[in-house]
Symmetry: C2
Subunit: 316 residues, 2 copies
DNA sequence: CTGAAAGCGCTAACAG
DNA sequence: CTGTTAGCGCTTTCAG
């Protein structure tokens, strides 16, 4: 394909001049400018992005690390990022890790090899000490709070949100409260959920916690297990609305009345929760994504707190 | 940051040798190889991807055009693509158009400027004549059927699926059938839905078609309108399970019995439909995405049909 | 206002 | 097995 020197030759000018009209420089005579433009049109020429990125040392490309690429929560953050990216003319590449440490490090390398200008981490598996050194190569933004000062964050105060939720449940008179989580103790959110439980309710009996919950079927499974306990829970705080929906469905199928016999609270205010009229905690993940994007392009190290909201519906 | 010639200098070899160890060439003496590797470690060196892409003329980057970045259907295809991309070591960049013709053309240019190796189009707004010329610069794969032979397709036979659905509805005895769609006549699926309706049911009265339906609230709105008609529909074929869920919810809220007074069929077999036990047509969009990815990396122009499946639940 | 020339960081003939 | 050299396609001094 045609390149800049061919354009220059055909237009009878230097490559510099061509580069100048390409980049809308002022000091180019109208004669030459139009001549160059004409040749560009004729040859249907488009400058090579790789060459430009190489020389500029900048790509306008931002990477988004997500553990799972089919999870409502991470999708929401991704959508927030995508919304902003189009208005600021950035490209976004999606980097799924499945919480594989090595994969995650490969993605961090993309910052170092100049492929990415910045990286947004929605959830990570490597320790921060492993990640922080890469801030030298580009800005890194986290969607979970971290004390690492080189890393900007757009975060929700999950601990506070969990405390609030348990307090609400307690105030409503629910005593035997169960929880579901995605990953087990390797996950910060899970640890925070349990901490909040300790603080508000007391010790969490192991049989009232089921992890490995991601989607509807997991909710079914969890409800099935919870409901066959001798002292079955009066309320379940699920780690997402889809899981909560599964719990609801299972409970219905075995004739357990919601909320009289079982209260349910989900998270993230998803359509399924709206449809089933489930109470939920909206962590405004899309807003988190939008904020993260802003921090990324500003190469900011600020810690921005995104407020959450408890939405009460009839499942409680 | 360090570059290849610095490594060469420090290791006391030529850049070629460094390049060779970087790319695992055979003919490098163990002595030099380890020496080079040592320097690379010491300097914490990573080769610049832009330089490599520039010289290779290939980026292992594939773009995915989606109209909306928060739509269940397009998300599913994206997830299929993402699933494959990690196993084949490709990167994926998401390109949201909002059906803006100009934006879409900008994305096509990314093929031409060597940023993208190939492009998957989940839904387009420009005419194929505008798009096809870009196949010269990289492979273009469509997730909707097209006769353009330069373009590979991973598609579902939507027309057949719509015909099947209407026939099922007819056989069940439903007579007054309404539909919802996303875009109006500018969309191929909408036109195909209407065609299928014509074929199976007959002329589609305008008041039995509501477009602009994307999510739960739109389903509410549509149901509200449909149910206040004098001859209100006995069945609604919605263009997605979320919309179907909204219809269901609204019907429930006004005491309309499902399916006795109103039958509902959705599309895409989403969690919300499972939870509400809504019948649906599963177009296996994730599989479509996976297929599209395969065609993309094989630069294939094949037309691959992905079979759909009608799932009957209690809403019909 | 214009152009020559020196790179950006890497790969790949080609000639040993 | 190794190094020299010529690019990939563009931007940007620098000197007119």
């Amino acid at each position: 394909m045609a390149n800049i020197s061919e354009i220059a030759r055909l237009a009878g000018v230097s490559v510099t001049t061509v580069s100048r009209v390409l980049n809308n420089y002022k000091y180019v005579s109208e004669t030459k400018r139009s001549k160059v433009q004409k040749v560009i049109e004729e040859l249907n020429y488009t400058p090579n992005k790789n060459a430009i990125d190489l020389i500029r040392g900048e790509t306008k490309m931002i990477g988004v690390i997500i553990p799972y690429n089919n999870n409502q929560a991470f999708d929401q953050m991704l959508h927030g990022i995508l919304n902003q990216s189009t208005v600021y003319n950035y490209s976004v590449t999606v980097l799924p890790t499945k919480y594989d440490n090595k994969k995650e490090m490969e993605y961090l390398t993309m910052l170092k090899n100049k492929f990415l200008d910045s990286l947004i981490i929605t959830s990570r598996s490597n320790d921060w000490e492993k990640i922080v050194p890469y801030t030298k190569y580009g800005s890194i933004i986290s969607c979970e709070y971290t004390t690492a000062e080189e890393v900007g964050c757009a975060y929700i105060d999950r601990y506070a949100s969990y405390v609030d939720t348990f307090q609400m449940l307690k105030k409503k008179g629910y005593t035997n409260i169960a929880i579901t989580t995605a990953r087990a103790n390797e996950s910060l959110s899970t640890r925070q959920t349990i901490q909040a439980y300790h603080k508000v309710i007391g010790k969490l009996p192991p049989h009232l916690h089921i992890s490995g919950c991601y989607r509807l079927e997991d909710g079914y499974r969890a409800a099935h297990e919870f409901l066959q306990l001798n002292d079955r829970p009066h309320a379940i705080y699920a780690n997402g609305d889809e899981v909560a929906g599964g719990i609801y469905n299972y409970a219905q199928s075995v004739g357990v009345k919601i909320p009289d016999e079982l209260a349910i609270v989900g998270q993230e205010n998803q359509p399924i929760g709206i449809a089933l009229d489930l109470s939920t905690v909206n962590h405004r993940l899309m807003k988190v994504g939008e904020q993260a994007f802003q921090l990324a392009i500003q190469k900011s190290q600020a810690k921005v707190n995104v407020p959450y909201e408890i939405i009460q519906r009839s499942s409680i």
